[in-house]
């Protein structure tokens, strides 16, 4: 049977992606004095994507 189970709070089992999915994309949005707007949060996703893309590029370059 293919159920993969990952239980918290073993922090290292929570991927950064799952964290971003919840901690940055969900939860109650309040208007703080400094608050990430929804647009900023999308930027986080984009930022993460760029980071991963650049890491992959670096790995490819290192492998040459």
């Amino acid at each position: 049977m293919s159920v993969v189970e990952r239980r918290q709070p073993l922090a290292e089992q929570v991927t950064l992606l799952d964290l971003v999915d919840r901690v940055l994309n969900k939860g109650v949005v309040v208007t703080g004095d400094i608050t990430l707007s929804v647009a900023d949060v999308d930027l986080v996703y984009v930022g993460l994507r760029l980071l991963l893309a650049s890491a992959a590029t670096l790995e490819r370059e290192a492998a040459r």
Partner: protein, 254 residues
């Protein structure tokens, strides 16, 4: 030293009702207003000022450290009481402003606390082995008859048809699984599946669901096991995460 004092602010993690339960949490402070208590930490504006935040968010190590810290505080609080998670990065320049926010949003916080009380959030992802799904579809097709030219055309048609069927099948799997899991949950939400370039897996994610279930209730876990058994031959893998604080159920009811 006035400058140094002005360089800190209050980062709010979440809002709870039972102040006594969270009074012993390490490394955080509490700000109370009426029936509500905010779980906060004093942070340096060198870390969280608007001017530096966008840059910080694109620093993977910083992001990971602080997102985990946010989650850790919420999990510690959730272990002892019901807490409504706030989204990452809610920062106030004074304790009074935190109290004012609690006051202004108190009806909403109280009704959310009521809704999630005694519940946890579980995450379920479904991954597809596309080759296995394609084989299952191909096995169901009629063998081609007629000459070579007709066979070629039929094969082309079948390939196009199969790609279309595959897309339909994937959408249906996600929809069916989500419907069955929703049936054993108090509330449910199907989030956008995480893209392949971020998961780093070759299999596409079909479902990225979150389910609010009673703490200690095994129904959803059992339903996931049933689905996984039924779908194993089609190359579908189920992944269960949690329990999480109710991040996905902290906003307006869906």
């Amino acid at each position: 030293m006035i400058d140094a004092a002005a360089r800190t602010a209050w980062y709010v993690y979440g809002v709870a009702e039972d102040e006594a339960a969270i009074a012993r949490l390490d490394g955080v402070e509490l700000i109370r207003d009426g029936r509500l208590t905010a779980v906060v930490r004093e942070v340096s504006l060198d870390e969280y000022d608007e001017a530096v935040l966008p840059e910080r968010l694109n620093d993977r190590d910083w992001l990971e450290r602080n997102a985990r810290a946010h989650e850790d505080v919420l999990q510690s609080a959730a272990a002892v009481t019901t807490i409504v998670p706030l989204r990452f990065g809610a920062i106030y320049r004074s304790r009074e402003q935190v109290g004012q926010m609690l006051d202004e949003r108190s009806d909403e916080f109280l009704s959310t606390l009521e809704r999630v009380r005694g519940h946890v959030e579980l995450g379920v992802k479904v991954w597809a082995d596309v080759q296995m799904l394609e084989r299952a579809l191909a096995a169901a097709e009629e063998p081609s008859a007629g000459g070579a030219g007709a066979a070629y055309l039929q094969r082309r048609r079948q390939e196009q048809e199969r790609a279309r069927e595959l897309a339909v099948l994937c959408a249906q799997v996600a929809e069916d699984a989500h419907a069955r899991l929703s049936g054993v949950a108090s509330a449910a939400v199907a989030n956008r599946p995480q893209p392949r370039e971020l998961t780093g897996r070759s299999e596409p994610m079909l479902l990225n669901g979150a389910y609010l279930v009673r703490d200690g209730d095994d129904g959803l876990r059992r339903e996931v096991e049933r689905l996984a058994t039924e779908h194993a031959a089609r190359g579908l893998e189920y992944e269960l995460t949690g329990p999480w604080p109710p991040h996905n159920f902290a906003g307006e009811p869906q």
